[in-house]
Point group: C2
Chain length 269, copies 2
Amino acid sequence: HSKVIVVGNEKGGSGKSTTVMHLMTALLHAGYKVAALDLDARQATLSHYLENRRDLMARKGLNLPMPEYHAILPSDKVSRDEARQEDEDRVEEAVQRLRAENDFLVIDTPGSDNFLSRIGHSYADILVTPLNDSFVDLDVLAKIDPDNHNVIRPSQYAQMVFEQKMARAKREGLHKTFDWVVMRNRMGHLESKNQQAMDQAITTLAKRIGFRVAPGFSERVIFRELFLDGLTLLDLRAADTGIRMSMSHVAARQEVRGLLQSIGLPVIG
Amino acid sequence: HSKVIVVGNEKGGSGKSTTVMHLMTALLHAGYKVAALDLDARQATLSHYLENRRDLMARKGLNLPMPEYHAILPSDKVSRDEARQEDEDRVEEAVQRLRAENDFLVIDTPGSDNFLSRIGHSYADILVTPLNDSFVDLDVLAKIDPDNHNVIRPSQYAQMVFEQKMARAKREGLHKTFDWVVMRNRMGHLESKNQQAMDQAITTLAKRIGFRVAPGFSERVIFRELFLDGLTLLDLRAADTGIRMSMSHVAARQEVRGLLQSIGLPVIG
Ligand SMILES: Nc1ncnc2c1ncn2[C@@H]1O[C@H](COP(=O)(O)OP(=O)(O)OP(=O)(O)O)[C@@H](O)[C@H]1O
Ligand SMILES: Nc1ncnc2c1ncn2[C@@H]1O[C@H](COP(=O)(O)OP(=O)(O)OP(=O)(O)O)[C@@H](O)[C@H]1O
Ligand SMILES: [Mg+2]
Ligand SMILES: [Mg+2]
């Protein structure tokens, strides 16, 4: 039975598309059949990444593992209710089809709130939420007390996740829910007071709103510099890209492996 | 005559709200009357920042300069055309009122595409677009050739900006357009090949799609660590926050001053 991994966070720029690209290529290199669904198809970071990957393969005669791919734009029906219904039908059709034919389906979602994203969340077996190491990012998960960093109340994204868990249970039975994992992203290399304060707040929040904390990614250029070629560091062994493996590449690979392990996915070689 | 500064970029997490907070507090400390308009009112980073600022003032008995503030949520009318009309009317009313009573109106927009954001862009005198130092971020401005980093074609956000310039000229006469400034944000402290490639691509793009490049902000914890108190580094002199001014604070202040100068705004003391 295939697994659906949704990468979501209403906060923009937290690292959703970057995380999708790295999870996807790691699973492909581990020999699994993977499908990719882009629910942020106007911005299309994931769609363009896969286009860049196909172009590179054509230009350089390389043979890289590719996922089955599909993208869904928001419905353009004039009535909000009809648009919602069309979004729901399209997501359901795509998820059912892509799950049936692959071991994993990885779904990228937009850094904002819309029907497509909500419906996509309701199909998750695993929800991965990347988060910048900042109280600005944490603000969409919960309101935090400035003096003692306690949780005052969950925010709009945590509420949305809770609603989609309920929608999932209603659709497929109470036993069916998803595993919610939060990962810190773009972590600074120097320990700071801000990082410690974030540590404390996230640990408190995890218990309060019910998610697990996964080891995250540090701020490393290698996580972003291969986008134009449609590659990630997981591809570097397979493709003769002429890029030298540095200490940061090795550390970044460890971080990807750490994330995979903590969300119960097969680990890269 | 007041100036409207819109901070926009469809790419999530590029630093829009952070830039708004710093521009706004710099102008307030320079003694100007400033209004803030939040067109991203579901995520509400700017609205929560100002709430946090008010709470701090109440808690600590501080007196900090505050902007006049207004937020607009997207219309909830069921028909798309009626919703668009309501969005347009609400933005027009707020902009006309806030401009009349203040020296500057600073507008925060969401990291996605919607009517409110488009209409907000059409009222800009100055449009500031923050950008992470990454080809992932650049992708929403233009498609870039992976081999020579030339511009293949403008992307959806550049096209939206062009459309709003036309809407502005139609509404207020051809002589009325806005100054488009792109600033790099979260720049790494080590020069990398990626940074140089970004330099080249942005310089080419500036000529091709018509924007100026402003000096940007480096990756510094001080740009994000005061969010829960509703402060920025510009407030540190005025408020007895017990935070020591470090070398990074001094450098960050220079960066904010550099941005103000390059967009023709009064420089902070
Ligand atoms: N660990 C990392 N190290 C360095 N740069 C990173 C890292 N993670 C993400 N980035 C960069 O940060 C920016 C935001 O990442 P990304 O676009 O993946 O986030 P997102 O959540 O998908 O954004 P959106 O909300 O717009 O969809 C991009 O410029 C990306 O290249
Ligand atoms: N120069 C900087 N140094 C350090 N951190 C920064 C800097 N600029 C922004 N950040 C952090 O990066 C993240 C994104 O910034 P911000 O929320 O201001 O972007 P945005 O464009 O408003 O995002 P959205 O698209 O969600 O509205 C936040 O966690 C913020 O604290
Ligand atoms: Mg994305
Ligand atoms: Mg914002």
